[in-house]
Amino acid sequence: MQCTNDFDVFSLFSEGPDISSISHVTLSPSRHNHVPGYSLPLSRSSYSVISAFCTEDNVPQSISYLNQELAVLGLSMCIEASSSEGASLKAVPVLNAMYELLQINKRNMCALEEMEKEQLKKLSTLEHIQISNSRLKDQLELSMREKSGLHETERQLQLKIKTLQSCLKTEKEEVQKLQSIIASRASQYSHDAKRKEREAAKLKERLSQLLVDRKERKLAIDVLNSLGRSDGKRSMWKTAKLSASHESEMYKTLLGDYETSRKALILENAELKKVLQQMKKEMMHILAPRQQSTSGATAADDSQEQVESDEEKAGNTSREALDHSCELAREQLLNSIRQQWRKLRNHVEKLDQVSQVHNQMESNKETIPLETHEDEMERMRQEVQQCREFIHAQQQLLQQQLNTSFDDETAALLNDCYTLEEKERLKEEWKLFEEQKKNFEKERKNFTEAAIRLGREKMSFEEDRAAWLKNHFLNATPFANRRRYSSSDGQSALSVRSEPEVRMSSAKAKRSKSPTYTTFSTPKPSRSSPVPSTTELYRTLRLLPDGSCSKHSNRGHWLETSTVEEGHPQIKSNLQARAGEMSIFTFGEDHSVT
């Protein structure tokens, strides 16, 4: 493509942005060695731009510069100034230079156009190639897939072939086998057939012979003399009875045989049943303690089962006696056996599992339970030993006891020995008791006498008082002498009254002096201690053991019943209280039980 017209050049120039873009491409190398700051926008106002380059002042410089540029471009002509001054130039070289430049520009444009075309072409081919590439890739993928699919089908077909081949092999073998069987059968048949044919042929021959040769030899038996029967009996006529007897004989033999076999079977059955029963018992026995040691959740079931099995056992043993061949019993037995066996098997499996678990545990853990187990065992052994010794000792003692009881005299003697001390004590106590009793009696007597006296004195005193009062009253009048005698009586009564008190105190002193002998190692109550109530005392009295208890209680009773004879009710109560006090005191001093 060659640009020949200037118009073309101009049209190139006139196309704004496209050209500028192209021009950027083409002009960029020249821009590098350019005077910087100068962008050469090729617009319509090109003249104004060029005019910026060259002004009135710098004409020669611009001329020289242009010459340089022209020289660089390879143009030989130079621009000359027409005169040394001014801005005029020689037109011819300038025009030539311009023409040359235009030519160069044209050439460049052409080249540019060509290159652009080339590039377009190349782009299109590239696109084309890309498209074809992608298409080919797709094709390739497709064909790969197809290939794999075909591989797959090929593999399956191969498998099928193999199976079919094996089937074919087996079928062939079977066919061969059948063929051989058929062959052997066929040979057998043919052999038999041939044999039969030969026989038939012989028959035919013989028949023909016989037909021809009618002189038959007589078939007969020639015996010198008849023999006797082997069993010596005479032969019998053939009668229905005989045939019936034959039948019965036959049936007898059969029955006999059945009987023997049945007996044998029964024996066998019985033995097997025995064995089964034994097995069942043993299994139950083995399972029973284990069942008891299982957790409570299953305990109820197990106990139930045990109950059931016990029932079964009972039922079975009872039925055994009845009928061995009872279907029900046999079934029950079998079921129970199966049940027990299942339990045993489960148990064994559990044990196996447990043992396996144990085995899986560390060795340390294994030894520790062993040690504890051993310790436990030791301890238990010791305990057992101790218990044994204890029992032994007990036994010995018991033996002694028993031995002593056999001999009455010695026993009595021994008993006496043991109770001797007690007896002595008892005797002493009795003595004391008697003493006290006597003293008490005395006191009582004195007391009663005193009480009586006191009563009398009191009466007399009252009388005296009454008399004194009377006298006094009357001595309002002059009778004063006689009253002093009556008061002295009263005093005497009073003094008399004080006597028993004194006596009581003396008795008390006596009491206190009497030895306090306690059979029991309980502390003496102090005299100043508060007097215990009667109920308490009686209670304690009743608590005293053996013979002395009854005596003491008797004493108590005796004292209770022996209330002091009463005078005046007021005095009586007092006296009673006193008596009670006295009794209490005696008891308290003798048997200080509080």
């Binding site: 043919s190 015996v223 033999t253 059969l254």
Partner: protein, 385 residues
């Protein structure tokens, strides 16, 4: 072991009397009776023709000599040498002849199995039994001699007739469910009759004495079936040997298989002891027999042979029979129970063992081969193979 001199015999007819006192041998047409302990000739009888079959009567008083070609049967008495008896079957021919269990009747099977003629030596009477079957074992007497079972075939069906041997009264007559009855055998207690089919079908039927079918046993189909059958002496077991080289044992209570023995080509069961006969003379074929303990005496023969214990596993030589020949020589052909029903001796394959017989005490067995015999003593509890 000492041996006597050699005596001649023909047709392998050499039998000891049932009471064990006499030995009867046939040489051509002569019958020689010797005393067994001294081997002195006691009697000498002459028959009319070459003797085909010779049999002692059950009471050891009479000997039957049958001449099949002539159709004659002669009976000789030991007590009375002058006594003679001749039975002529005439033109009808004679195929087999035997004593009845009481020793007073002779049963002759005519040619082509047309009939069985029962001759009575007591009454000279004759009875005929029609349509007997020609098979491997068509007639069997019960052990106590009371009953006889006979296989019959009429109209292409198999029947069994049970006769009372006393007077040949027909007790029972029933049809069997067999295709082609091959044999029948009484159990030792006389209450069960085992009936088996031909080798084309494996079928064993068990009938009770009164003709009821007790049970049927069939191990497999199509392949060749039963080859040999044997009862244990206690009547508890029935051993069935078949062409598949296995022995199956049924029990008498349920009539179901309780155990199955195999005869593998390679023995590697650690409980088995294998004795191999080793011959000094290389020409003789060595037999391999898996039995217990050794004894062998054959100074009679010029070869010395010895039994050695072979280390396990032992490979037994197997001869594959030709497939297109009938009655192949495979399978268990001989079965023998010991008298206490503890042991079972079997012969499998094509070994040259013709019979196995146990001693009545149950601890020794004798193997009879074609040219040799072997006595084996048991002294442990091993099961034999």
């Amino acid at each position: 072991m000492n041996f006597s001199e050699v005596f001649k015999q023909s047709n392998h007819l050499c039998k000891v009397s049932p009471d064990g006192k006499y030995l009867a041998t046939c040489v051509q047409y002569r019958l020689v009776v010797r005393d067994l302990s001294t081997l002195q000739i006691l009697q000498l009888y002459t028959c009319l023709d070459q003797v085909s079959h010779m049999e002692w009567s059950s009471d050891s008083l009479f000997i039957l000599c049958a001449m099949y070609k002539r159709g004659l049967v002669q009976v000789w008495s030991l007590e009375q040498p002058d006594w003679h008896c001749k039975i002529d079957e005439g033109s009808i021919g004679l195929v087999s002849s035997r004593w009845s269990p009481d020793g007073r009747h002779i049963l002759n099977t005519t040619e082509f199995h047309l009939r069985i003629t029962v001759w009575s030596l007591c009454t000279k009477a004759v009875s005929y039994i029609k349509y007997p079957k020609a098979c491997q074992k068509g007639i069997d007497f019960s052990r106590d001699g009371c009953y006889m079972a006979l296989a019959e075939r009429r109209d292409c069906k198999d029947y069994v007739s049970i006769f009372v041997c006393d007077d040949w009264h027909l007790l029972r007559h029933f049809e069997t469910e067999t295709q082609d009855l091959a044999g029948l055998e009484w159990s030792p207690n006389g209450c069960v009759l085992a009936v088996w089919d031909s080798c084309l079908e494996y079928k064993v039927l068990l009938y009770s004495l009164d003709g009821r079918l007790l049970s049927t046993y069939s191990a497999y189909e199509w392949s060749l079936g039963v080859k040999s059958v044997s009862w244990s002496p206690s009547s508890q077991f029935l051993a069935i040997g078949s062409y598949d080289e296995k022995v199956r044992i049924l029990n008498h209570i349920t009539w179901k298989k309780i155990v199955q023995f195999e005869h593998p080509a390679t023995i590697d069961n650690t409980k088995a002891i294998v004795y191999k006969e080793v011959d000094r003379r290389p020409a003789v074929v060595s037999d391999e027999l898996s039995l217990h303990n050794i004894t062998m005496g054959s100074t009679l023969f010029s070869t010395q042979s010895k039994y050695e214990i072979c280390p396990l596993p032992v490979q037994i030589p197997v001869v594959k029979p030709e497939p297109d020949r009938a009655n192949p020589k495979i399978g268990v052909s001989v079965l023998a129970f010991s008298s206490d029903s503890r042991y079972l001796a079997t012969k499998n394959g094509s070994f040259q063992v013709q019979s196995l017989n146990w001693h009545c005490s149950g601890d020794s067995v004798i193997l009879l081969g074609k040219d040799q015999l072997c006595l084996c003593y048991m002294d442990t509890d091993y099961e034999e193979k």
